[in-house]
Structure formats: structure tokens, C-alpha cells
Amino acid sequence: MTALLEVDRLRIEFPTRRGILVAVDDVSFSIEEGEVLGVVGESGAGKSVTGAAVIGLLEPPGRIGRGDIRFEGRQLNGLPHEVMRRIRGAKIGAIFQDPLTSLNPIYSIGRQLTETLTTHTDLSPAQARSRAIDLLNEVGIPAAERRVDSYPHEFSGGMRQRVVIALAICANPRLIIADEPTTALDVSIQAQIIGLLKDLCHEHRTAIMLITHDMGVIAEMSDRVAVMYAGRIAEIGPLQDVVKSPKHPYTVGLMDSIPKVGQEKDQLSHIRGAMPRLQEIPPGCPFHPRCPQAFDRCQVERPDLMDTGHPRQTASCWKYARTASHG
């Protein structure tokens, strides 16, 4: 069985006057049908760029230097723009952080929805309009028949994000790339939007690549988690395992540094230092200067994702090379 989305040894580069910056290097993962993969990392870890590459919206001068992106078995990178535009929307939807900038302010939301629907489906304009109203109902916009002719500025932030979700699901895509879908929203609205996304994907069996810096959002929604650090995947595995028994020292530090309600601690444990800038990624394991468990090999050789002894949980850390070689 092939996965819905397969990303294989992906490398994303940004050529600059001072040489090539590698934003993402050697990233491989897959998403199954109907699965939610959370991609978590600090700012600059390369998570958004990876998402943009999958939908073919990498901003120039960014480019895919190496590797493959396959969707339903078909290679996406290198496809002509026009073909990619057909796939985007019809097969892969997108939800971005700021709902105000992802909607066109001068068209009513009904028009934006019907336009997307008539582009990607065989519906007539009249059918598309009634489908648009159904969709708005489905994403929880009250009085959808009346609100369908309103403009984006007439909606609140949470309602706008619902409209964006309606746009993303309108052609029944197999995969949605959701890049920080709740970050711009207030906490109580955030919970509503997460609930909505969860329900919709369950119903339509849509897979989601959920990109966020917020471990809380990941914990609420995803089936599997990929933790990114300095352009690479540090660890990937089922949600329960990564959250409850993280294997990579970075994930361990990350989980410990999150303050949690119901746990009284005078001091939070933190990871010393900060993530390196793209120009300054150290050789070897990019995490080694901050890693409490680093040893000689970490400074010279870059680790690949390795078996951690737990099914489906892999980490790029030399710690696990030793256990593996011992059998």
C-alpha cells in the first residue's frame, strides 16, 4: 500500500548572494489516507517551507534542491504550474495562519467559494452557490444563506478562519496543508477551530499535514508527530509515544520546557542556547552544541533517522546507533 503523500530526502535551498542557504535538508516522511501528521518545531525549523513545497507554493528564490514529493504515487515536484494549480484546491487544500490575508477582500465569500467550486468540480454556478451555503453551514457559520454574500471584513477572526476551512475542503481534497491554522486566534476560538477541523477530517477521511509551533494543538489533533529542528526531522512517531516518551534529546527538552497546568515546579527545565541560524548550522548533528548527551560522533557525523526500539518511532540521534549495533 502506498501512502497518500510521500516526501523523500527533500532538500530546499535559498540561493543568496552569500551562498546557498539550506532551509530543509534530507527530510523524509509520509502521510497515510485520513491521517493527521503534526509537524512541530520552533520558528526557523523549516516546517512551513516544507508545507509550501508540498503544495508547490515555495516562494522564489526558494527551490527544491534534491528529493521527491509524491502524492497518490505521482511526482509533484517539477510539475508545470498549470498542472499543479489543478491539483492544488482539487486534491490538496491549504489553510494558512492569517485568515484575513488568505481571503480576497474585494469579493464576497460566496463568490470566492463558488469560483473555487466551479473551477475544480462540474457544478453549475447555481449548484455551486447552494453547495457554498451547505459548506458554510457545515463549518458552523450561522445564517449561512444570509452571510454568503458578505465580505471577509464583515466576519470576526474565528468566523473568517471557518470560511478559509470551507474553501479548503470545498472540492473534497484528499490532503489539507494547515500551516498554523489557530495561531492568530484567541484560546477559546482556537479550541472551536481545532474541534471543527477534527470532525471534518474524520467525516471526509481527509489527511492533514498540521504545521504548528504549539505542542498543545498537536496533542489535540494529530495521529503522528514529526519534530523538526534546524531544517531536519529530529524525531517522528505516533503522538502518544513522542509526547509521553520522547526519544530525541531535543524533543525531551522541548516537552520539559512547556509549562503544564497541574504540575508545580519552581523552575522549568530548559534547553540552553537557541536554535542556530541557517547560516550557522553546525556540522554533525545540528543539535549537538545544545545537547546534554552529545558525544564525539555527534560533532562530526550527521545522524539519519534511526530505529529507537519502539515501533514506528524513529529519531535522528547517534544514541540509537549504538543500541542498534549491539543488536
Binding site: S188, M215, V261
Partner: protein, 339 residues
């Protein structure tokens, strides 16, 4: 821990805010102003807020965007004039009209802002940024003493004295927030107002800054007013918590009481939205509705359209803050024992 030794009741609070209000008059397009004779709408950003902070403690204000928590912070440090109400700092009123901006109390009170990229002047060297309050308040006798003090402050926040020669762009977000803290500490304040100091930072860096703030509090005996929307952070750092909704305080309680026995329905809603990192799969009440437009807040209790316990009285009458067990709660349902 600071909250393990409660301050004896005899000592007066370091800061007392009484019935504080701040209204903003919104602008109206001038044609409507001239021909329509429209009186400009008034935004009640803060409406009758009262609380106290004991010396050496951390009081957190939480709420969603637009609830007025940052406005409270700005009024207290004097960036806005209050519309009504009083602020007492060390027992003295700050808004005494006979004294124009009392400088003595200003040195005792400093602020840390949310965005460390916007709150540091990019054209100043770090040492000048940190020295500015010292120069303004004439706290150093000569240049040598000033330099010594700046080095000491840099060390205190975990940077090195040589970092003073650099410019803000050479630092990461967390290091910049350390610079803002050093600047805030430079005038030997007793009281720091921290407006979302970690919400622009990544979690691993957030933990560093929160630890630094706690350590400085212990070492220097600082008192914090901590503004945040993140309840997990508030739970970590504060001793007392005030929950704000549309310009009013719904509930003020000691931290443990608030997190273990929340009384106001809005507090319960907020606590219920905290993501569950234990993955217990706990069922939660579906949250409904959104924060209404603060220009036209709902009648009576501003929370009633979203409240599961709203009754007739909630729609008509504004609830007043009343003591209930350890907490102060503004809710008719709690007062009538319906909750």
C-alpha cells in the same frame, strides 16, 4: 518559593488599583461628525477594575485579546491617563493631580514589552539601551559607575558585559528579551509590569526567560504584574490571578484556588481550553460563541450570551465583584448559589 511565605496581613499592598477605568473615544469620519452630529462611540477598555498586589508576589492578568489587560498595564505605568479610579503605589496615589508624573515612583516601576524586536531601538548599542533609564533618572555619578552598572546588569540577565557593544539585531529573540529585562532593572525598580513577555518566543526560550524572571524575583525581591493569555504560563509564574473579560474582572483568586476550583463560568471556559498534554482524552464542554465587540458590549453581565448558567438577572444587571470562598467573583449565578 515566594508564595510559600504569605505576606503578613499587616503590611500594605505594594500596588492597589481601585475602580480603575479607561475609556477611549473613537474617531468618527469628519463628514458624519459635521452633518450627522454623531457623538463619537466610547470604548470601555477597562471598566471598574480593582485589585491589590502584595510585595514580592506575582499577580497575573489573563484574558483573550481585547479584554483590556494590556490597557490596565499601560495605565499603571503611566503610558495612559486613567478615565476614573485610583492607583496607589506604596500607599501613595499615583494620580495625584498636584504632582505631574512623580519621578520617584517612576524609577520604582518599569515595564517589559511583548515584542523584543519592536521594543529595542535598532540604532542604539545595547549598553546605551540599558543605560538610558540610569541617565534619565541620574542614578550614576560618573561614566565609570555607569559602565560598571551596565556590565552588572548584563551579567544579571545571563549575557556577557562585552555584549553591550553590540546592536540588537545581533541577538536572538530570547537574548533581546534579556536585554529588555536588563533595561527594566537598571533603575532598581521594585515593581515590573510584564506585558506578554514570552508570547513572541519559542517554548524552549520561553522557559529560559520564565526561569530568569523567577530567579530575579527571588534575588531582588521584585513584584510582578504579569499579563498573559497563556494559562499554563500563568499557572507557572503567578501567585494570584485575575481573569478579565471585556474590560472587567470576573474572578480574582490565589493561583491554586483558581486552577483547582474555578467559580466564574468564563474562568471554567478558559481552563477547559488548555490543551491536554497528558493525552488523557478528557471530554470537554464545547466552547461556543466569540468575544463580542467591546464598543457594544452585551447588557448586564458581558459574558451572558456565552454563559451556560445565564439567567434573567444576568441579562439585565451587571454583577458586582463579591467574595466567595477564597476568591472574588463577579457572577450572579455564583452569588445565588446556582453554580
Amino acid at each position: 518559593m515566594a508564595n510559600a511565605t504569605p505576606t503578613p496581613p499587616t503590611s500594605p499592598p505594594l500596588l492597589r488599583v481601585q475602580e480603575l477605568s479607561k475609556y477611549f473615544v473613537l474617531s468618527v469620519p469628519w463628514l458624519s461628525r459635521i452633518f450627522g452630529r454623531l457623538s463619537p462611540p466610547i470604548l470601555r477598555a477597562v471598566d471598574g477594575v480593582s485589585f491589590e498586589i502584595q510585595r514580592g508576589q506575582t499577580f497575573a492578568l489573563v484574558g483573550e485579546s481585547g479584554c483590556g489587560k494590556s490597557t490596565v498595564a499601560r495605565v499603571i505605568v503611566g503610558l495612559y491617563y486613567p478615565t476614573a479610579g485610583d492607583i496607589y503605589f506604596q500607599g501613595k496615589s499615583l494620580e495625584d493631580p498636584s504632582v505631574k508624573s512623580p519621578p520617584e515612583s517612576r524609577t520604582r516601576m518599569q515595564m517589559i514589552f511583548q515584542d523584543p524586536y519592536a521594543s529595542l531601538d535598532p540604532r542604539w548599542r545595547v549598553r546605551d539601551i540599558i543605560a538610558e533609564p540610569i541617565r534619565t533618572f541620574h542614578l550614576a555619578k560618573n561614566r565609570f559607575e555607569l559602565g560598571e552598572r551596565v556590565s552588572e546588569l548584563l551579567l544579571q540577565v545571563g549575557l556577557s558585559p562585552s555584549d553591550g557593544e553590540k546592536y540588537p539585531h545581533e541577538f536572538s529573540g530570547g537574548q533581546r528579551q534579556r536585554i529588555s529585562i536588563a533595561r527594566a532593572l537598571s533603575s532598581h525598580p521594585d515593581f515590573l509590569v510584564c506585558d506578554e513577555p514570552t508570547s513572541a518566543l519559542d517554548v524552549s526560550v520561553q522557559a529560559q526567560i520564565l526561569n530568569l524572571m523567577k530567579e530575579l524575583q527571588r534575588r531582588l525581591g521584585l513584584t510582578y504584574l504579569f499579563i498573559s493569555h497563556n494559562l499554563a504560563v500563568v499557572n507557572h509564574i503567578s501567585d494570584h490571578v485575575g481573569v478579565m473579560y471585556l474590560g472587567r474582572l470576573c474572578e480574582v483568586a490565589p493561583k491554586r484556588t483558581l486552577f483547582n476550583q474555578p467559580q466564574h463560568p468564563y474562568t471554567r471556559l478558559l481552563l477547559d481550553t488548555i490543551p491536554d498534554l497528558n493525552l488523557s482524552g478528557r471530554r470537554r464542554q464545547p466552547v461556543t460563541g466569540e468575544v463580542p465587540n467591546p464598543i457594544h458590549p452585551p447588557s448586564g453581565c458581558a459574558f451572558h450570551p456565552r454563559c451556560f448558567a445565564a439567567g434573567e438577572r444576568c441579562r439585565a444587571e451587571k454583577p458586582m465583584p463579591r467574595s466567595s470562598k477564597d476568591s472574588i467573583v463577579a457572577c450572579h449565578a455564583v452569588e445565588e448559589g446556582r453554580l
